[in-house]
Amino acid sequence: MEKLAPLVVGAPFLVAAVFAISLPLSRRRDDLIAIATASTGVIFVAALLIDVLGRDIPVVTWVGGWQPRDGVALGVSMAFDPLSTSLALLAAVLVCAAFLVAWRYFEIPGPIFHALVLVFGGAMAGFCLSGDLFNLFVFFELMSVAAYALTAYRSEGSGPLQGALTFAVSNTVGAVFILFGIALLYARTGALNLAQIGDYLAHRPADGLVVGAFAFLAIGFMVKAAVVPFHFWLADAYAVAPTPACVIFSGVMSDLGIYAIARVYWTMFDGPLHPHLGELRIVFLGLGSLTAVWGALMCLGQHHVKRLLAFVTISQIGVALIGVGLFTTEGVAAAALLILADGLLRAGLFVVIGAVIHRVGSVNELRLQRLGRALPRPLRVIFLAGALGLAAPPFLGAFAGKLVLEHAAIDVGQGWVIAVFAVATILSAAAVLRAGGRIFLGRGAPSADDPSALNEPDLDSAEAEIEGAPGYTPPVMIVTAGVLVAAGLVVGLVPGLVDGALDAAARFTDRNAYAAAVLHGATESLPDAPSVELGALAVVLSVVSVTAAVAVAAAVLSPRRTGTAIPRTVREPAVRAYWMLRRLHSGQSGDYVAWLSVGAAAFGVLLAVATR
């Protein structure tokens, strides 16, 4: 079974190559081939996952059949553990969803879109499953290049060009940081295999080289994940990328950056950096909190709905980074649960917005207020359910993840982060609820009162990617949105999910078992997974955050100007501060790279101090 695993990468590539020859197949046939390939991928990865779940140790396969000799890896390994394979499955599912949405979405068919998405999908699978540092970089770059091209898909519009440019410039600099990290580790260990590097570093102290290598790798992956202050490109890119691509970008690509940080830490750096975990935790929790709150604050003022969802993505990436940044098994489990539920919900919300664009050709919340009535009723239910799901209502959506996260945070004495993610969740969910209330329920003061509102950015005319007769929403879009949102909501109800995640995280964080499986084919006993009890605190918090999110959204939409209730001395500086923050997102790659450099320098110094 695992011998076939490289085909997860190879098969979509082959189909993409066939597409690129661009024989004039019919549009429908292109779509069918793409959907068939993507669904085969889902089935294959699911089969791999089932296989992996039944085994005690990571399943390892060597591409080219190069088994390691005396603990020296000659080739490239792929390693499947429940966590990495689940993430690959999420990616495969979203690739499938993207094709389903694109089916009736694009006016101009293009096998180029199909080829790019297939290559992108193969690269994501390779990225999740690779066990080799340089191979990880290759798939990172492949994902990036395919994503730049997809962002610029509507290249006759100015928005897509600008978004793709800032995206490409920022991520290329990030990739160079990753290469610096790889070069450092190769200089020290003479190895590229994650397990082999980890073994080498395990019993040696963390000196400048090791800390620097970790810092540079983390910086590169944080650019991809869009952690503040490396995040600026994301809002520009996700706001303009074609919606089917956004489904993948927002649903899973950003999360892969977070995953990669956990992957490199737990396979390579846990040995040397373990003594400094207390300090490292502070650095990562700080960054995660900053990202969670920054993204949530930015959500509040956005009326471009895709840009709003882009900032929701940033905020939730921050919360996931908090999970990973706890550097415990429970933290990893929490991050995995959050990524799964929130990723599905975000993807579903993007599909709804895609349907809205398809129907009325606008993403401006204020303009849509009057047009919303034309939208089909099921979309209303799906969008509002998804928005509520972002607040993690009891037992639904990311509730399971939040539950584990609270435990994990309190366990290491960092209970304060619970407040951070409560605030982030409330604000971002409120912003999406506000948009939903305005678009689908027609709430809020009519925008005619506020003519400036209509000058808010909207779609380029070039981005109105409408196909078919107006006044019609293809059922396949509604169904895809419904399935994604429903899956995101009920995933928390799956029996045994929390225990399964904890178990998967226990295997993911067991460096010795991983190294033994990769380098020596040895079997080690399964580590003991921690367990988490359902506490009253979690349910109370969950109820509070849903109520608060609805209350905030209702207050904003209230026809009475609720804002005036806040004293002017508080309101005006707050608004000014908000605009200062917002204007930092200037759309200029020069600014973004300058902030990237500031972030990298600060992060490097913080890690150096933390591991002193």
Partner: protein, 269 residues
């Protein structure tokens, strides 16, 4: 106007100014340089490297793979999976590039046809043209040589592919756009590129069927130093050569067509 002299964009309140941006960068770059020197301080002195991976490969590649060029053995055999990814990076980049540039061109006036004004791109003298035409043959031969000798001497699919693509460049320099259209019928180039990319995956899958694993060797290894040696390395190198040739020809010609379209417009004005 040269780029350095253009006026600065006026900033809105809250936006950082150009000077602030530069200061921010310079200060952080100084700190970053410190972090980098600190990290690289742990690297072995230049010339003193003893990494185990390279040492092992230098010893085993010739006897095991019958490839005298260990670098090619690494690229096409030991770490062939990287090269698969790399090939598709080029593949995706060329797809994206074609997408971006063609969109604009179609909208303007459709694909360029062979009208007379498109014929001379640069005013090349007959002597230049003669030289470049004479150079085409040797370049193509050289490219082929570099590709198939990858497992033996410096070179391989990448370098040979780029050299082959620059043969097109000579045609361009000769100003023979009509010749160019014949040398480079786009569909054929696209098929070359995609076939090269696809062949890599297929040869890899061949390893799965006839050998032990994806991308494992399943061909006779031959005698080290022969052109037909080193097993699947040779066809993989040729596949990459095809893909790279096709990819770079497409890149060059997409930009070239863009230029031609504009020049024609310029002439019409």
């Amino acid at each position: 106007m040269s780029a350095g002299e253009s006026a600065h964009t006026p900033r809105r309140p809250g936006e950082i100014s150009f000077a602030t941006r530069r200061t921010l960068f310079l200060v952080s770059a100084l700190v970053l340089a410190g972090v980098m020197v600190w990290a690289l301080g742990g690297v072995p002195s230049f010339g003193d490297y003893h990494g185990v991976y390279g040492l092992v490969l230098n010893h085993v590649a010739v006897p095991e793979r019958h490839a005298t060029n260990v670098i090619t053995a690494v690229n096409f055999d030991y770490r062939g999976f990287d090269t698969l990814g790399e090939e598709f990076i080029l593949f995706a980049a060329v797809l994206g590039l074609a997408l971006i540039l063609r969109e604009g061109r179609d909208e303007e006036e459709g694909p360029p046809d062979d009208d007379a004004s498109g014929r001379r791109v640069v005013g090349a003298s007959n002597a230049v043209r003669l030289i470049t035409v004479l150079l085409i043959g040797p370049t193509v031969v050289l490219a082929g040589y570099v590709i198939v000798h990858g497992p033996i001497t410096p070179g391989g699919g990448f370098q040979g592919g780029v050299i082959a693509a620059t043969a097109l460049l000579f045609v361009y320099l000769g100003g023979e756009y009509l010749t160019l259209r014949r040398v480079r019928p786009l569909p054929a180039v696209e098929i070359t590129k995609a076939a090269g990319a696809g062949a890599f995956v297929l040869i890899g899958a061949g390893g799965l069927i006839f050998g032990t694993a994806f991308l494992a060797n399943f061909l006779p290894l031959g005698t080290a130093g022969d052109v037909f040696s080193a097993g699947t390395m040779q066809p993989l190198s040729v596949a990459v050569g095809l893909e790279v040739t096709g990819g770079f020809v497409l890149i060059l010609s997409e930009f070239l067509d863009q230029t031609l379209v504009v020049r024609r417009r310029g002439g019409a004005r």
